[in-house]
């Protein structure tokens, strides 16, 4: 009976996950979980970020030199091609000279993936559609009524909502659907990195810590058994 109780306890602590699945007008967000160990993906994500996001959004908690170290980018590329403004130092945060609260209301993106989750952002970026009733001319399935214009239309092409409520492509972008999805994965990977730069070291070195404690447990168990003989 005691064992039954235990099994019940253990099972019940794993069986469920916090909160309700929340994905705007969609039933479920598209599955995606970020990976911060693919250096090239992070670099590509940075590229998309600089081209399409950085003109309105900030990363006010991420330092240029941290980015340079973690993403293995030569310093002159950072200073000459990415920072561009002469007053910005390499140890500064990636705010692009914008004030902390953007005048057009674009939120800071540093912690977004931690607030919304990878899946939400990934789905959000891919579900813009044309909606003339909006001031920006576009709407979003995940965040209905979003103020963000569809800056990615050039890559993805335009989409519209058909009568059944599903998205249909109405014009071609510079990327195929798969290429676009992959780029968005890169972007979310990059944003996930920005949300927690320490995650790279954390996940890399955690394995060794756990391996060490497995050996620790084994040795300590032998030691205990040696003395436990006397307890019989």
């Amino acid at each position: 009976m005691k064992k039954l109780l235990l099994i019940l306890l253990i099972l019940s602590s794993y069986g469920f996950s916090a909160g309700e699945n929340n994905c705007g007008s969609l039933e479920k967000c598209d599955a995606f979980s970020s990976n911060v160990h693919d250096l090239y993906s992070l670099q590509r994500g940075l590229g998309i970020y600089m081209n399409y996001c950085a003109s309105c959004h900030t990363l006010k908690l991420l330092r240029w030199n941290r980015l340079q170290k973690d993403l293995v980018i030569p310093e002159n590329i950072i200073t000459e091609e990415l920072i561009r403004t002469p007053d910005t130092k390499i140890a500064d945060h990636m705010t692009f000279g914008m004030p902390d609260v953007s005048p057009i209301g674009a939120p800071d993106l540093t912690l977004r993936t931690r607030v919304r989750g990878d899946e939400w952002i990934y789905t959000y970026l891919r579900t813009f559609y044309e909606d003339p009733s909006q001031t920006s001319g576009s709407n979003n399935l995940v965040y209905v009524g979003t103020a963000m214009p569809n800056v990615l239309a050039g890559l993805q092409g335009n989409q519209a909502l058909d009568t059944g409520g599903t998205l249909v492509s109405i014009s071609e972008g510079s990327m195929t659907a798969e290429e676009f999805d992959d780029s968005m994965k890169d972007l979310v990977n990059f944003l996930a990195y920005a949300a927690e730069p320490a995650r790279i070291t954390r996940e890399k070195n955690g394995v060794f810590v756990i391996l060490f404690f497995i050996v620790f447990t084994a040795v300590m168990n032998l030691l205990y058994r040696e003395y436990a003989k006397e307890l019989k």
Partner: protein
């Protein structure tokens, strides 16, 4: 003996009996030779307490306890301080581990009658420690000053406002402001890092001294003090060191494997240990869509929410009644030593009703915990109400069923 030795230790011992006291209270202290894994949670709790104290001190070195600085300083720790992320995750995971171990430790107490005469005080100190731990966790949860910190604290503080007559004034007094603000944050910081931990350390000392006075129990409920050797040591006892100290080491190893697996690979625990909205700075004007307590408060939060009715003719609102029952769910643990009338200690020798009661209690506690993290709906409220009844019933009926049920005979020796 040691005091006659011509060593540094001998010199010290002649002036301060260190060796003698260490031997009496620690290394040679006799404990039952046969116990099961349930008896390891106490040692693990000491380990977690130490982790919390040390990481807490380090976090305190970098944290800013102001409304403007708190949230940013946590991100400063996560990014700019070397290994700051490790300190923070160890502290947040440590909080969850603390509760997890505490619940098992106390459940062990209930199963094996670790509260029965003469251990009432040990149990009482333990209950106080649970209460302090809950307070400590609550205070600490406010400090990162995220959305969930702010709004969860708001919910709990407004509970005090439900107390008739003095409520609203009491709430303002606790907050030090008309709303929850930076003033509240500063005092919560002081309580979290100094007052409550000091009280906890004192109580842990009392808890252990009281335990050493009356002797540790065992799953059989056998009194090992009955048969003693010539030196007055119990025959079924074993010196604490090396048998128990070495016994704790593998357990600590397993604990660290699980603990660091969480710290390194799932520090937010899927939103159970650190909730998503808490990565957004507190915003007075915008409530998160769904406020859920951290998992370790969920059972009690569920009980609070399950009370959807008041007692109108006594002028008790449902909010206040909820608060009373919520408080009672913790308070009832304090009186367990006087509710149990059984002539045996351990569940192994108690009767059917005791066993059913323990299962009911555990099952309802888990169900309440599950419900507490979910948004309410009608069905969930009804289930929570039933579980609340099952949570209390094993205690309220305890004096009756423990007295009349048939118990088995306890062996003389372990």
């Amino acid at each position: 003996m040691a005091s006659e030795k011509n060593t540094i230790m001998g010199w010290v011992d002649r002036r301060l009996p260190v060796t003698e006291n260490l031997e009496r209270h620690l290394t040679k202290h006799p404990v039952p030779k046969k116990v099961n894994f349930f008896y390891l949670f106490g040692a693990l709790l000491m380990v977690v307490f130490m982790i919390q104290v040390v990481t807490g001190i380090w976090l305190m070195m970098f944290y800013t306890n102001t409304e403007e600085g708190a949230f940013a300083s946590v991100e400063y720790i996560m990014r700019d301080v070397e290994y700051g992320w490790l300190m923070r995750y160890m502290h947040s995971t440590g909080a969850s581990a603390f509760f997890f171990l505490m619940y098992f430790h106390m459940f062990r107490g209930l199963l094996y009658g670790s509260y029965q005469k003469p251990k009432e005080l040990v149990w009482l100190f333990g209950c106080f420690l649970l209460f302090l731990l809950m307070a400590e966790g609550f205070l600490g949860y406010v400090l990162p000053w995220g959305q969930m910190s702010y709004w969860a604290a708001n919910v709990i503080l407004s509970l005090f406002g439900a107390i008739p007559f003095i409520g609203p004034d009491l709430q303002v007094w606790i907050q030090g402001d008309f709303v929850l603000s930076g003033i509240t944050l500063s005092r919560f910081f002081a309580l979290h890092v100094v007052v409550v931990p000091l009280l906890m350390i004192a109580l842990v000392v009392f808890h252990i001294f009281a335990l050493h006075e009356v002797g540790a129990g065992n799953p059989e409920g056998v009194d090992i003090e009955k048969y003693r050797d010539k030196k007055g040591m119990p025959l079924d006892g074993a010196p604490f060191h090396p048998y128990k100290t070495f016994g704790a080491l593998p357990a600590i190893g397993i604990f660290f494997i699980v603990f660091f697996a969480i710290v390194f690979f799932a520090p937010t625990g899927g939103g159970y240990f650190i909730e998503k909205p808490n990565f957004e700075e507190a915003n007075f004007l915008k409530t998160p869509e769904h406020i859920a307590p951290v998992w370790y408060y969920a059972p009690f939060y569920s009980i609070l929410r399950a009370v959807t009715f008041g007692i109108p003719f006594l002028g008790i609102t449902s909010k206040f009644l909820g608060f009373i029952i919520f408080a009672a769910s913790i308070a009832i643990l304090f009186v367990v030593p006087w509710l149990d009338r059984s002539n045996v200690q351990s569940i192994r020798y108690k009767g059917m009703y005791s066993k059913i009661a323990m299962i009911l209690f555990a099952a309802s506690f888990i169900t309440l915990g599950y419900l507490g993290t979910k948004p309410v709906n009608e069905l969930r409220t009804i289930i929570a109400q039933i579980c609340t009844v099952f949570y209390f019933a094993p205690f309220i009926l305890m004096p009756i069923y423990t007295k009349y049920e048939k118990t088995l005979e306890v062996p003389d020796r372990l």
